[in-house]
């Protein structure tokens, strides 16, 4: 089993630069974990609130290595037929109908049933061969010659059974298919598993992974992220947005604004031709930043105080 990826990420600093080159501005612990994940050839379990850049991390790695990103979105009820492989039952049935005459020739009408079964037995494996196999995301990830980044997104939404199914893949990068035997990875995929922590992921799965918890970025880092995504954003407005978003994160909100939301908000403010963060404009656009009505109402009531505090700090 190979694990062949260009040897660019040889140090933590190089990994940080590599992620940076793809437009993913990472905190140092993210770079350290990615570096170790590649060096130790282990999957990385990334946890954190929605919108902190878990999925983007996988995309950035794929972009850097110029390999395909295979994404498996998890949900309740996801099973091996949807994640790993399935048999093309329709095709199998169609072929049996089309090959009916051939089958009739193999089996002679007058012979005993057990003799007929014995004859057909020699052909039944054909119907469970690779041409009738429908590869799903996990199977595809194992069979890519060039390697790939496998993103198993929101594992916490899948069931415990599905986690068990992943164990073999994550520890040995192989899968066992009853009809075909064990399929080993041609080139081990770089595996990123994300979780929003809506439930505790099983200990067995955690043991097989490196663990990374992504927190909200520092103000400085967030400011860099905004500049990268929105080059037209003035540094003044950029700083004001970052300060405002950070002050909201300290409040007791149901869903504090994430990085992706602050990017969306900054885009909105640009569209509204805002030059400064003013009360009216915030009120108009707060629904882009906050996703719950109660949160919006609460912040609208405290808006004066928040802006006053932010201005005091900036002065």
């Amino acid at each position: 089993m190979k694990y062949l990826y260009p040897n660019h990420c040889n140090t933590i600093e190089a990994t940080l630069a590599a992620l940076d080159s793809t437009g993913y501005i990472a905190q140092e612990e993210i770079a350290t974990t990615v570096f170790l994940g590649i060096k130790l050839e282990k999957p990385i379990l990334v946890e954190g609130l929605a919108g902190v850049g878990k999925t983007e991390l996988a995309k950035a790695i794929a972009k850097f290595y110029k390999v395909p990103l295979i994404r498996l979105q998890c949900y309740e009820g996801l099973d091996e037929s949807k994640a790993l492989y399935d048999w093309k039952y329709g095709k199998q049935l169609l072929y049996t109908q089309l090959l009916k005459d051939k089958l009739n020739k193999i089996v002679e009408k007058k012979e005993e049933i057990d003799v007929s079964i014995e004859k057909i037995k020699n052909y039944d494996d054909i119907f469970y061969s690779k041409i009738f196999l429908e590869p799903r995301a996990l199977y595809k990830a194992l069979t890519y010659e060039t390697g790939c980044v496998l993103l198993i997104d929101e594992i916490d939404k899948a069931d415990q059974e599905f986690e068990a199914l992943l164990l073999e893949i994550l520890s040995d990068f192989q899968i066992s298919i009853a009809e075909l035997g064990t399929i080993k990875a041609v080139n081990k995929p770089i595996t990123i598993i994300t979780s929003n922590n809506t439930r505790e992921v099983g200990a067995a799965l955690k043991r097989r992974c490196l663990h990374l918890h992504i927190n909200f970025p520092s103000a400085e880092l967030e400011s860099r992220i905004l500049s990268l995504h929105l080059p037209d954003l003035s540094s003044k407005l950029n700083n004001q947005i970052v300060a405002f978003v950070n002050s909201l994160r300290d409040k007791d909100l149901k869903k504090p604004p994430s990085v992706s939301e602050s990017i969306d908000w900054a885009k909105t403010l640009l569209l509204l031709n805002a030059e400064n963060l003013e009360l009216n404009i915030i009120k108009k656009s707060l629904n882009v930043l906050l996703k719950y009505e109660n949160d919006i109402l609460e912040i609208k009531n405290k808006l004066d105080d928040i802006l006053f505090e932010n201005n005091k700090i900036s002065k």
Partner: protein, 433 residues
């Protein structure tokens, strides 16, 4: 080098952070790829391989900071093949070599079994043992000789210098032992305290232990959360529903072109809780309600009721921002009349239709009915509809069925009846749910 990290793993385990052998191997491999001088990278690498839950982050950081700042100005141990005896403390002091001094202290600590630190009373003893271990006696002997043979003022100065350095060593050893107590001893003392708390009657638990108890209850419920995530699964498979497929393909002359699959079924357990909040069981109710408060975040299908004589739904109280607030509101809003189980069950009769074969009915109460009607018929009806009925009685088992207790009448219809007045009992309850 390996010894240092092994000690670190042990310290983590000592602080209840689970570290598997596999994670240890990963951590050792990971640190081989990074520069150990960079403590930030070292911390990140160890966290990536050893830290499996965000909840343990605070403890992990604390252990790391204590462990790697005490003495590891340079991470390492005394040269391989050398022992403490090969080092002369006087020479080390004269060189002002703090790094070697720290390594000697660590090695002496390891030899004296400092990891078995379990009480602050041992601090003094460990200080003396480590001082002896690093060869303080040689230094004392040296100072004594100098004093005996002193001739000039210069000698006096040298003696003073040695005595100051001795003080300095004593202070370094003292700090180191204190830090080690934080790493090993504090937790041992805490474990001991928890063991005692576990079996103490909840009524007798001190107020100052409230935070610790909350932590323990949260841990219990977390255990349940993991268990429930196993249960809350879909009963599914991707198999063909043969009967349905054949039936639906009759129109195709029996050729099976349209396949029909087994349907998914979602198994959603339901928990109904009836909690007596009368004065006789008030303390126990508070603990059960704090479990209920945490449970409602895990079990989507939970109905909680409190009663003294009338049954009142308390679901809306449980949405408060803290368990203390929720419990305070429940206790203040439920009328404090005499306990009447008969009336309570009569009120519960209207809830019977909502019980299913997936329902677990939990009742907390002493079954002391003030001589009223037990109204067991309702419980009998509930038994027919529920998956199980568990009765938690805070009174010691010997007291059941004495006086106005109707425990005997109710227990016939319960799947399990058990005494519940300690944390240990509550922990067992989690297993039963």
């Amino acid at each position: 080098m390996k010894n240092i990290f092994e000690d670190f793993f042990k310290s983590l385990r000592h602080h209840d952070i689970e570290v598997s052998i596999g994670s240890e191997i990963d951590a050792l491999n990971a640190v081989s790829f990074i520069k150990l001088e960079n403590k930030c990278h070292l911390k990140q690498a160890l966290a990536a391989t050893l830290l499996k839950s965000k909840n343990d982050e605070y403890l992990f950081n604390r252990v790391f900071d204590i462990f790697f700042t005490l003495n590891q100005t340079e991470i390492g141990v005394i040269k391989e093949g050398n022992s403490i005896e090969d080092y002369n403390l006087i020479e080390v002091m004269n060189r002002g070599d703090l790094i070697t001094l720290n390594k000697l202290i660590q090695e002496a600590g390891r030899q004296k079994g400092l990891r078995k630190f379990s009480s602050f009373l041992q601090k003094g003893n460990y200080k003396i043992e480590i001082m002896n271990g690093i060869g303080i006696k040689n230094l004392d002997y040296h100072i004594k000789n100098l004093k005996k043979n002193k001739i000039s003022l210069q000698d006096e100065k040298i003696i003073n210098d040695y005595e100051n350095k001795r003080e300095q060593i004593f202070s370094i050893v003292g700090n180191w032992v204190n830090q080690q107590y934080k790493l090993h001893g504090e937790m041992s003392a805490k474990h001991l305290h928890i063991d005692v708390l576990y079996t103490r009657d909840l009524k007798k638990i001190d107020r100052r232990d409230a935070i610790l108890i909350k932590e323990l209850i949260a841990k219990m419920v977390k255990k349940l959360a993991f268990k429930k995530s196993n249960i809350l699964k879909t009963q599914k498979n991707s198999k063909i529903n043969i009967r349905r497929t054949i039936h639906k393909n009759v129109a195709n002359d029996g050729i099976l072109f349209n396949l029909h699959w087994m349907r998914n079924k979602i198994d959603k357990p339901k928990i109904v809780i009836l909690c007596d909040v009368s004065n006789s069981v008030r303390v126990y109710s508070i603990f059960l309600l704090s479990i209920v408060y945490l449970l409602q975040e895990i079990v989507s299908n939970l109905d909680a009721y409190a009663f003294t004589d009338r049954l009142i739904n308390i679901n809306h109280f449980l949405t408060s921002s803290s368990s203390d607030e929720a419990i305070h509101n429940i206790m203040n809003n439920i009328a404090k009349n005499g306990t009447n189980y008969g009336q309570m069950f009569a009120d519960f009769e209207s809830k019977l239709p909502s019980l299913t074969r997936n329902t677990t009915l939990l009742i907390l109460g002493d079954a002391r009915n003030n001589g009223g009607d037990a109204n067991t018929r309702i419980l009998c009806e509930a038994q027919k509809k529920c998956k199980k009925i568990v009765w938690l009685n805070p009174e010691p088992e010997n007291f059941w069925n004495f006086g106005d207790s109707d425990m005997n009448s109710y227990s016939k219809y319960c799947t399990k009846v058990f005494e519940c007045n300690t944390l240990e009992h509550l922990d067992n309850l989690i297993d039963i749910i």
